[in-house]
């Protein structure tokens, strides 16, 4: 479980100690209640800001990895999905996550988040800051989907799916763990390797199956690569995601106001950073070994794979463990990208290897560094959440397919979604046609 509960145990304890005056000086020094509150709130705000900026990271990564003729559409999808996520988390999502009650399976539906700050003092942070932080997490999961399905999915069906994902699917399973539901006691996912990244990955996988590959991607038993239009843009996107991940993982400590929390957040920063470094170097060496050429796009995916891998437990591992965990993430990505192609699952930006597979890996490896966590418990969470998200997403995609249709017409795909759906071009002066 995340959020509410934990904090009651820390800053407030600190507050009590503080209130008892001079006594506080005997143990480790503590800050005043008010400072702790401000620090915790600030952690949410600062972290939330950079996680919000991950939307730009996904936008750039995806715009760089699609063809020029679909680049404007993917930008539109990214800014729209973030906005839809915001509205849906407000409408139903937040209350579905946190209204669930201990050990519960689903929260009673409650629309419009109330913004109640009355419990804030006891929680040790502003309710609004927490809401903001949770909201940007939900948007992240949706961003994962847009990349996989790029270049062929119609705009409005995609946005409808995003609304379902961010308003219902994600919140239900997040409630199971972070809301204190039935999985919370047996399963550990610090910042969301499973809850956010695999969830996004499962939803993307379901969509990719329903949607089918892009025209021309698999021709006569062969994979025809469709190179991305701007690799520097993709690199920029990766750097932005890396930056955002400090907030993603660091903010998930949910508290900053005590010496121990501040130290933990620092450890998380270091481990997050080093897991990404491990992912990059692993992907670099592995693509060189496999293909005799370093593949930049896989190295970028490797950074993300490393980051996703450490997300389930960025605090406990020693630094060298973090490097290895991230490094394995980089390996997974490098190997899985071509495997996925063998199954003819067309994942435009490599989101399924990086977010889904590395999310599973990162969750499974938690017991190694975290003694209170069992391998079996982790598996339970991965399987139940995976099954739930995949199944419901699949049904949603099918529903959309047989009503509005999800796939752009062959002609639109040829022409590019930019011209077909937006009636404009991303680079009108450059693209040859």
């Amino acid at each position: 479980m995340r959020a509410k509960y934990k904090l009651i145990a820390s800053p407030i304890a600190a507050g009590l100690v503080c209130a008892s005056g001079a006594a506080a000086q005997e143990a480790a020094p503590v800050a005043s209640d008010a400072s702790v509150f401000v620090f915790n709130t600030l952690l949410f705000l600062m972290s939330g800001m950079v996680v919000m900026f991950m939307a730009a990271g996904f936008c750039m990564l995806e715009a760089g990895l699609v063809r020029a003729k679909n680049a404007a559409t993917i930008c539109l999808k990214n800014i729209a999905l973030y906005s839809v996520a915001g509205l849906m988390v407000y409408l139903t999502g937040y209350d579905l996550i946190y209204g669930i009650g201990e050990g519960g399976i689903i929260a009673p539906l409650n629309i419009f988040w109330g913004g109640d700050e009355s419990g804030a003092l006891a929680d040790g942070y502003s309710a609004h800051s927490d809401w903001f932080f949770q909201m940007v997490f939900v948007a992240t999961a949706a961003s994962i989907v847009s990349g996989t399905l790029a270049e062929r999915i119609k705009l409005f069906p995609f946005l409808i799916f995003v609304a379902l994902l961010t308003g219902i699917i994600y919140p239900i399973q997040a409630g199971w763990v972070w809301g204190g539901g039935w999985l919370d006691a047996r399963f550990d996912d610090f910042a969301g390797s499973t809850l956010v990244h695999s969830t996004g990955g499962w939803a993307a996988l379901a969509g990719a199956i329903v949607l089918g590959p892009r025209k021309g991607k698999y021709v006569g038993g062969k994979v025809a690569p469709i190179p991305g239009s701007s690799l520097p843009m993709a690199a920029l996107g990766t750097f932005i995601l890396w930056l955002g991940w400090f907030g993603f993982n660091g903010g998930s400590q949910l508290a900053l106001g005590t010496i121990s929390d501040a130290t933990d957040v620092s450890k998380i920063f270091v481990n997050t950073n080093m897991a990404a470094c491990g992912g990059v170097v692993a992907a670099l060496l592995l693509t060189q070994a496999l293909y005799k050429k370093v593949d930049l796009t896989i190295v970028l995916n490797g950074a993300i794979g490393g980051l996703v891998s450490i997300t389930a437990e960025p605090l406990q591992p020693a630094v060298w463990q973090a490097i290895l965990i991230g490094g394995v993430g980089g390996v997974i990505v490098s190997l899985a990208v071509p495997v996925l192609d063998r199954f003819r699952i067309d994942d435009v930006v490599g989101a399924i290897p990086a977010h889904l597979l590395c999310g599973i890996w990162g969750t499974l490896v938690v017991p190694l560094s975290n003694s209170g966590v069992t391998f079996f418990g982790q598996l339970t969470g991965i399987v139940t959440i995976g099954a739930f998200v995949f199944a419901v997403s699949f049904l949603c995609w099918l529903g959309l397919k047989y009503t509005l249709g999800v796939r752009a017409s062959e002609e639109h795909e040829h022409l590019g979604l930019d011209k077909a759906e937006l009636g404009l071009e991303a680079y009108p002066e450059f693209t040859p046609g």
């Binding site: 690569p225 593949d295 490098s334 071509p338 192609d341």
Partner: protein, 112 residues
């Protein structure tokens, strides 16, 4: 008059242009093209999938010139374009019936 179209390796352009200027060519038009020829492209790996790159980037040079100078132009291009490697390019000579300079309306060899 002749209309000469040469398809060459992009990085030879500078030398070719110099060679042509030396023999008195006063104008030419250049564009970027993709070539399919003997030089067959090559196979590459992208995101773990091997594929064939069929075309090679080339530069197309178009020169209008009086018939008497055409042979010299072809020779100059040949010499300055060659790297003695496959893909050095080709030169096509077509018959040119008329030329007009837009600004002055002059036509024929005077317009070249």
């Amino acid at each position: 008059m002749k209309y000469i179209i040469a398809v060459v390796k992009p990085h030879r352009l500078e030398d070719i242009r110099n060679a042509l200027t030396t023999i008195g060519v006063e104008g030419m038009t250049v564009s970027d093209v993709k070539g399919f020829g003997r030089q067959k492209g090559h196979s590459e790996v992208y995101r773990g999938a091997e594929y064939q790159v069929d075309f090679v980037p080339k530069t197309k040079i178009e020169i209008a010139i009086t018939a008497d100078k055409a042979a010299k132009v072809v020779e100059a291009i040949c010499k300055s374009a060659t790297t003695d490697r496959i893909g050095d390019g080709k030169i096509f000579v077509l018959d040119l019936q008329e030329v007009v300079r837009v600004r002055t309306g002059e036509s024929g060899a005077a317009a070249l």
